[in-house]
Amino acid sequence: MKFFRPEAVPGFLSAIGLLLVWTGVSRFFLPTFLPSPLALLSQMFSIFSHAAAYLVIGKTLERVFAGLVLSMLLGSLIGLVMGLRRSVESFFDGWIMVLLTFPSICWAFLAVLWFGLSDIAPIFTIVLIVLPYVAMNIWEGAKAIDRELSDMATVFRAPRFLFLRKVLIPQLMPYIFSSLRISFALSWKIALVSEAFGASRGVGKELMYWFQGTRADMMLAWGASFMLLMVAIDALVLRPWENRVFSWRPAAV
């Protein structure tokens, strides 16, 4: 492990620069309108010194997770069948286009009208927006399946389930992981928007609350906390998982 890496210097400098400019500019405004970095940090600490904050975050995470898992499962299934069967491809093709082009914000509002203030509204919104991206991605993957390997499996008389587990799905893994990353990034943003006007509790609801109280500092504190949490999930869960799944690949030089 090297502690000094020359290539990291520009990034480090730009971060320092941003903090300095931010501190400077914040002197001209009320702390509730634009807090200094230090003030923001102390707000974040004060938020998380109350147990209620963890319940709020937990609720949002629960919805993000449910929406993500549902979109991944349904999207992968639809994408896979589309890639493998011509007739199904044309059946879903139009629907995917409809979902991709329909304005996201409409779904968020419609979900509240249809399902009221419940868990269903944010999850429904996530699924409708994220699912088509997943389906498109897996569809691409299923079309790129190596026919030579399929023939090999046929020659050795691999039953369908074995073929699926050992031949087909491993070939889709790169597409599944890229879908997962896009879905994860999209899901939590959608969850917050949807919660802002369609939930009784959640990080989105907090943002709405502090917005109505014109407390920019609290909004930033909540936003930054949630961002840190998402970065942590990416670094501590998604990346190690991906590295493990692809450990068979020779290290890139």
Partner: protein, 258 residues
């Protein structure tokens, strides 16, 4: 006890023409019998339909007419085990060497209790003992092809189909593999149908050589190679056989292209 591992009778295969109109005949009423336990080679120029023939036998390519029977040693028509070594290894790169072999064993419904024993036995046979836990992409091309051979042998096939298995390797590696294959086959002796475009390879490896001409594919010559094993690649008798066959080949090819 069946006397023939493969019986092909009046096989026809047509492909759609490249120009989109009509179809052309790749294989025309081809008949062939491969005796149990023999090592037979089919030699022909590229594009003559050799691989298509193997794929029809393996059941991954449909046929248009004729009969193809693959029989197990005990004479049962269905359930004959077919092993296949392709031009490229066609390994599942995300599985370890060991799991690649177990994939074939599981596909063939072979009892789990014998898996470890077979993996060890056949990896040892192809000279890859100790590579069980390695991933295919960490191995050289020649070693990957050895894994593919071990995979095909591990199911203890009634017939082993080999489609130019050494043509993707450099000549020195290929040569070593041919000699090693001979040694391997002293321990495991399935019936082998080996396809190649190299007369030298065919004559060195096999007991029966079938020569195939192009468009449509038919067998115009059958030759027994009676030189006892182990054979030396430089054996002058092999050269003589090869020279004779080359001559006949050109005579037939010239007729074909006239």
């Amino acid at each position: 006890m069946a006397t023939h591992a493969v019986v092909i009778d009046g096989l026809c295969k047509k492909f759609p023409s490249p120009n989109g109109r009509g179809e052309f005949t790749v294989i025309d009423s081809l008949s062939l019998q491969i005796a149990c336990g023999s090592f037979a080679s089919i030699v022909g120029p590229s594009g003559c339909g050799k691989s298509t023939l193997l794929n029809i036998i393996a059941g991954i390519e449909p046929r248009d007419a004729g009969e193809v029977r693959v029989q197990s040693q005990d004479g049962a028509d269905s359930g004959a085990r077919i092993g296949y070594v392709f031009q490229s290894p066609r390994l599942l790169n995300w599985l370890t060497v060991e799991d690649n072999i177990k994939f074939a064993l599981e596909a063939q419904n072979i009892g789990r209790s014998s898996w470890n024993e077979r993996v060890t036995k056949y990896l040892h046979m192809v000279g890859l003992a100790g590579q069980e836990r390695n991933f295919p992409l960490k191995l050289s091309g020649g070693m990957q092809q050895r894994v593919a051979i071990a995979r095909a042998l591990a199911i203890e096939p009634d017939i082993l189909l080999m489609d130019e298995p050494f043509s993707h390797l450099d000549e020195i590696t290929a040569r070593k593999m041919r000699v090693d294959l001979m040694q391997i086959l002293e321990h495991a002796r399935p019936t082998i149908l080996f396809v190649t475009h190299s007369l030298r390879e065919a004559v060195f490896l096999s007991e029966e050589v079938y020569m195939m001409s192009v468009k449509p594919a038919r067998i115009f010559k059958h030759l027994r190679v009676d030189i006892p094993r182990p054979r030396e690649p430089e054996d002058p008798r092999l050269f003589d056989l090869e020279k004779g066959l080359v001559k006949e080949f050109f005579a037939v090819l010239e007729q074909d292209f006239r």
